[in-house]
Amino acid sequence: MVARTLYEKIWDAHVVREEPGQPTLIYIDRHLIHEGTSPQAFAGLKAAGRKVRRPELTFAVMDHSVSTKNRLLPVLDADARGQFEALERNCAETGVHLFDMNSKNQGIVHIIGPELGITQPGQTIVCGDSHTSTHGAFGALAFGIGTSEIEHVLATQCLTQFKSKTMQVEIAGKRPRGVTAKDIILAVIGKIGIAGGNGYVFEYTGEAVRGLSMEGRMTMCNMSIEGGARAGMVAPDETTFEYMEGRPFVPRGRDFQEAVTFWQTLPSDTDAKYDETLILHAPDLAPMVTWGTNPGMVTQVSERVPDPGSFDDPVDREAATRALVYMDLKPGTAMEDISLDRVFIGSCTNSRLEDLRAAAKMVQGKHVAKSLKQALVVPGSRVVKAEAEAEGLDKIFVAAGFEWRDAGCSMCIGMNDDVLLSGERSASTSNRNFEGRQGKGGRTHLVSPVMAAAAAIEGHFVDIRKWNNVDGAE
């Protein structure tokens, strides 16, 4: 038999119809939706007189515009309220599962899918959200789609797709102290650029990836889209199976054993061929900080803001010049000298229990710098929030001067009232530093949770490798 990659195995297992010269019709195992991009899809479906084909395979949650303060208060934003009501109505009419804003399982769609075991190895998973790539951490093929495609999946449980090329992204060797999954993926994007993965599905391999927890793997896969890739994947292994067992939507007992046996067939065959291979050496990596207006504009914390003149390509030079104007940064400024107005620990990239534990460890017994206007911790889900509270992490954060909030997308996208004001600068554990992403005129620097936590304490970026409470590699 021909050796196949993880991607090819999942693809082959989901082909419904294949004809030469046409895109392939593939079956979708799990469809996740949220209030922001789904109302038009339901409306289109209704207008065409079509039904939801498999409502039991679609899962809905309210996350993008939810308040992270008091959920029991009325939603004042009429547009947001309209979307919540539409989702509620659409789910009730079609039989789609809904985790509404008061559900104990509510949270960011990409946090709750894995947490509830809805996400499983070998599946095809789509959602009207580009960070759907997160779920690839389980050895699933997961990618973001537009609203027309949401409607297509609702109506047919399938999508027409063109096969992607595959890129093996190997992170060789062990992670050094202070370097997290976030730093690895930022380094990857810094290396290939934000369009470097265009047309590809990434498969992350190598010792450093194997050594990551599921949380870390999710962080890496989450940001695959920021490198332009359609999806990112990690082959399932014992770490995956251990994470899966006992979650609500995961099979139990003998069925679980059977599932594991199947999951074990998924990893790429040893002699499988990738279209491209990129190798990064983990020991060379360092904590990363973005300096510009896309995630590829990134450098090590010990470095300086680059001089646009140092870029060979005139297009890059122009983009860097524009970015530095927007970011109000001067070339040559040490990254550690950049001071901050707000710190945000949250988002589908970095708001899981492991992230909060690591950040809490950095701030325990310390206090947020006086110069900071706000330091925010937004757990990715209500389950994460409850687990963190059971460990007392909320108390550590609050004692250190952080605000401890309810679950949602929050300041990553600023669709609720958690925003940056014009001219403000943030250290953020989220995934996009585009102009205005966290609020019009806001300036975002992407970092890991431990880097954000330390920056909150000092009021500016710090090289956490200088701190003695930073974890080692594994």
Partner: protein, 219 residues
């Protein structure tokens, strides 16, 4: 969906790489429930000064580009968020075709679902088009999907590639859900064979609706 066969129109140059969909439609406009009406907010933060006063520095506000229906853009156009509000806004503003060296994946897909033709041309061709647009006020091109060619009145003629299936859908304005539903028996057959696999398709536990008293973890 309106078919796209051939379009002639004024070209507006947007000379920036990596224009992301957050710029096309900022988040505050993602809370609506329609597919229409986003033209007014296209490139909102670039286009308007406080109080929605047109920003004279932004290219689309220049009088010479009023009524433009073809966007000339740089590499990786439409990167970032999957929001289909971006192509909705582009179409609603009056654009029917985009000329760029490359596009981000999801945005590219979304264009075809909305009757917008994203044409991919070589970097040098895009450079030449920028030069011509800059030089001649009222510069227009014809984008012909049937012939797969971009032309102007001065002899420019660039052919382009596009996937034949996507081309056909756009030429005919086909509803791709309808196209897929033609294969309903195949979908049913796939489900009959595969949906039984417990690891992949069946939630064995209770469904967690908002009124469920249980927490996510059973332990």
């Amino acid at each position: 969906m309106e078919p796209f066969i051939k379009h002639t129109g004024l070209v507006a140059p947007l000379d920036r790489v990596n224009v992301d969909t957050d710029q096309m439609v900022p988040k505050q406009f993602l809370k609506l429930q329609t597919r229409q009406g986003y033209g007014r907010v296209l490139f909102y933060d670039w286009r308007y000064l406080p109080g929605e006063k047109p920003n004279p520095e932004f290219v689309l506000n220049a009088p010479r580009y009023k009524g433009a229906s073809v966007i000339l853009a740089r590499a990786n156009f439409g990167c970032g968020s999957s929001r289909e509000h971006a192509p909705w806004a582009i179409l609603d503003y009056g654009f029917h075709a985009i000329l760029a060296p490359s596009y981000a994946d999801i945005f590219y897909n979304n264009c075809f679902k909305n009757g917008i033709l994203p044409v991919t041309l070589a970097n040098e061709q895009i450079d030449e088009l920028f030069a011509r647009t800059e030089k001649k006020e009222g510069y227009r091109v014809t984008v012909d999907l049937q012939e797969q060619v971009v032309t102007d009145d001065n002899g420019l003629r660039y052919s382009f590639e596009v996937d034949p299936f996507r081309r056909d859908c756009l030429l005919k304005g086909l509803d791709d859900i309808g196209l897929t539903l033609v294969h309903e028996p195949r979908i049913s057959a796939f489900e009959a064979t595969n949906l039984k696999h417990p690891a992949m398709y069946e939630a064995v536990d209770v469904k967690h609706h908002s009124d469920s008293p249980q927490s996510a973890r059973h332990n």
